[in-house]
């Protein structure tokens, strides 16, 4: 009798799983990924971007970043440029939002001027790199509609392949295909399709490490633009969590004294 109950409840579960549509499954994975990455509160990072043009000529940018987790909306971030030396001290403050336009301010140290800038260029290049503003801004569940495609292997690891459609109307992409690691719930690879639905860029994320016993962060990102032949490597040199930042570290006053 007990066995029958167990068997039938298993059947019910299997039935529920079968009834789940590809969209529901895609969303469930995104929600799980978001849930696993919650509670990091704040982080401080240092990173280096290596830009390569189609001839392979390189230029670099060194960047420091601070970010504050905001529940129920996009995060707040402050980005400071150390190199190229002519833009040293230039700082960028961003309040990201899931579906409406972000709020962005730029601090120009030579003029001591804080400029509110338009955030309509979410699809524009970040610091001349192959990363756009929307690629580097915080990933929120509501930013996309999801569709599970298949289970697969990538680099010997089990992954979910998920299609996601940006919901922000000024996104530079019509769709993205992500290869999401089943253990970490972090993407190993993302393909970006432009407004004409052709493959524009491929991002791969490498050298994942676990921080604060919970949060997986990549050590290296490789973005290749298939249409221009340009590429950008983003090296994350350090991550530091729970620095005790508050919204006070992300206002126009802190922007003016960002170093």
């Amino acid at each position: 009798m007990k066995g029958i109950i167990l068997a039938s409840s298993l059947l019910v579960f299997a039935g529920a799983a079968l009834a789940e549509t590809a969209e529901e499954k895609g969303l469930a994975i995104a929600v799980e990924a978001d849930k696993r990455d919650q509670g990091w509160t704040d982080q401080a990072t240092t990173s280096k971007m290596i830009l390569r043009n189609s001839q392979g000529a390189e230029s670099t940018r060194e960047i420091r970043g601070k970010a504050l987790e905001v529940e129920g909306d996009g995060d707040k971030s402050l980005t400071i440029f150390d190199t190229p030396r002519d833009v040293k001290g230039t700082a960028f403050l961003s309040f990201t939002h899931t579906l409406k336009a972000d709020e962005q301010w730029l601090y120009l140290p030579a003029l001591k001027r804080v400029k509110r800038i338009s955030s309509s260029n979410k699809s524009g290049p970040f610091m001349g790199s192959e990363f756009s503003y929307e690629d580097i801004s915080s990933q929120e569940v509501a930013k996309y509609k999801y569709k599970f495609i298949k289970d697969d292997k990538f680099d010997g690891r089990d992954v979910f392949v998920i299609e996601r459609i940006p919901q922000y109307k000024k996104s530079g992409y019509t769709k993205q295909i992500t290869w999401m690691d089943k253990e970490m719930y972090q993407p190993l690879k993302i393909e970006f399709y432009d407004r004409k639905k052709s493959l524009l860029k491929t991002l791969t994320q490498h050298d994942y490490k676990k921080y604060a016993d919970k949060y997986w962060r990549p050590g290296r990102l490789e973005m290749i633009n298939h249409q221009t032949g340009k590429s950008t490597t983003l090296l994350w040199k350090s991550y530091k969590f729970k620095n005790g930042f508050s919204s006070r570290d992300f206002d126009r006053n802190s922007l003016k004294r960002a170093r």
Binding site: R85, D86, V87, E103, R116, N121, P125, R259
Partner: protein, 396 residues
């Protein structure tokens, strides 16, 4: 125990202080295409400037000292060969306030064509005719940070006089400015203590600033009849009057539109007047599927003193196009014109810049004066001064 040692090492390896030098050296050459109005002026000017910056930071970034001296040598203009301390200040950050003491530069406002609201720092006019370069201003600045905005209080204990090109310099007034014989309205002269207060806040798409200044105006008036200076050259003498100025600056950021306005009321020398700048900047992002952006800028410049205005922009229109390539070299070009609506005076400008090596930046600037009305005393002195300037900056 071992764990504790490791932890201590980890903590110590994160620096709680920083001590760093940076800065730039720039080589500049300026070519004037037309013959000068005066025989004491030249057609080619070479110049070198040096601006190091020292930052010492401690208290986990809550305190720092910044020191930015500046020095320029000019081939012909002895007044342009000059030095200044742009910044030498101490900063202390508190939870809900910030204190800054020392020589500093402050910028207020939103417009591109002129900066009416921005009155704290004196203009270092020998550096450039656009007035964007400023002298370091001694100040005590206390900022109170609230949910309803930031209130900045300023005590400005010392006045800096404006710099002017020398007899051998170009882009100067026809009569040379005699900076050795200066008159002040206040009997305290340069030691008059000025005060200012400013409130700034962001509300959604809106950024707002409201300010009041009480002290000696940074913009001098001039004696109307020329007199001999210490070297026997016929010159005009600057007069610095006391003023009260209230200013409002507003920006609305609506998608690709930036709507901007600055309005001031200034009471000075028994007179009161209003002036304003208002306009927009609209950007076409990623034009023709490229990474380039093209921005259109338009601003209207107004001064209700009309022809009695002490600036040449009393009823003028500024139009500009900004091209940003968003490439790895940060290539950008700004082409603009300021046109007087009442006469044929036009001031054209081109500014282009590009990084040409990892630490090297090339900047080209050109200005063209056309149809300058002879009764426009300020601009008519520049009527022969069309120029192209090439600057190569090395950054370290």
């Amino acid at each position: 125990m071992k764990k504790l040692i490791t932890m201590t090492l980890l903590i110590c390896s994160t620096p709680l202080w920083a001590n760093e030098w940076s800065g730039n050296i720039s080589f500049e050459t300026k070519h004037f295409s037309k013959e000068a109005l005066s025989t004491s002026q030249f057609k080619e000017y070479g110049s070198v400037s040096f601006q190091p910056e020292w930052l010492y930071e401690w208290d986990g970034g809550k305190q720092n000292i910044t020191f930015v001296p500046f020095s320029r040598w000019d081939q012909h203009d002895e007044k342009r060969s000059h030095s200044d301390i742009r910044e030498f200040s101490w900063l202390k950050v508190f939870n809900e306030s910030e204190l800054r003491v020392g020589l500093r530069k402050v910028f207020w406002g939103v417009s591109e064509s002129q900066h009416l609201v921005d009155v704290i720092n004196q203009t270092d006019l020998v550096e450039g005719m656009d007035g964007e370069d400023k002298l370091g201003q001694p100040m005590i600045n206390y900022a109170l940070i609230n949910d309803w905005g930031t209130v900045d209080l300023f005590i400005l204990p010392y006045f800096r006089e404006r710099t002017f090109p020398g007899v051998n310099g170009r882009l100067r007034t026809t009569y040379h400015i005699d900076t050795d014989n200066v008159t002040y309205e206040s009997s305290d002269k340069q030691n008059h203590i000025d005060y200012a207060i400013r409130w700034t806040h962001s509300m959604g798409d809106w950024d707002i600033g409201l300010s009041h200044f009480n002290g000696t105006s940074r913009d001098p008036a001039f004696t109307t009849t020329p007199a001999l200076d210490n070297n026997g050259v016929l010159s005009l003498r600057p007069i610095y009057y006391l003023m009260q100025q209230t200013g409002l600056d507003l920006q609305a950021t609506k998608d690709a539109w930036l709507w901007k306005a600055e309005v001031i009321n200034r009471s000075i020398n028994n007179d009161s007047y209003n002036a304003a700048t208002a306009g927009f900047e609209y950007t076409f992002y990623s034009i023709f599927e490229s990474s380039s952006d093209v921005g259109l800028v338009m601003e209207y410049l107004y001064d209700d003193r009309k022809s009695k205005a002490t600036t040449p922009f009393e009823d003028d229109l500024m139009m500009g196009v900004r091209w940003t390539n968003n490439d790895e070299n940060d290539t950008s070009v700004l082409v603009g014109v300021i046109a007087d609506r009442d006469d044929s005076s036009r001031l054209y400008s081109v500014e282009a810049s590009r990084r040409i090596a990892e630490s090297m930046k090339l900047t080209i600037e050109a200005r063209l004066f056309t149809g300058i009305a002879t009764n426009d005393l300020l601009l008519s002195s520049f009527r022969q001064d069309d120029f192209v300037q090439v600057e190569l900056g090395y950054y370290f």
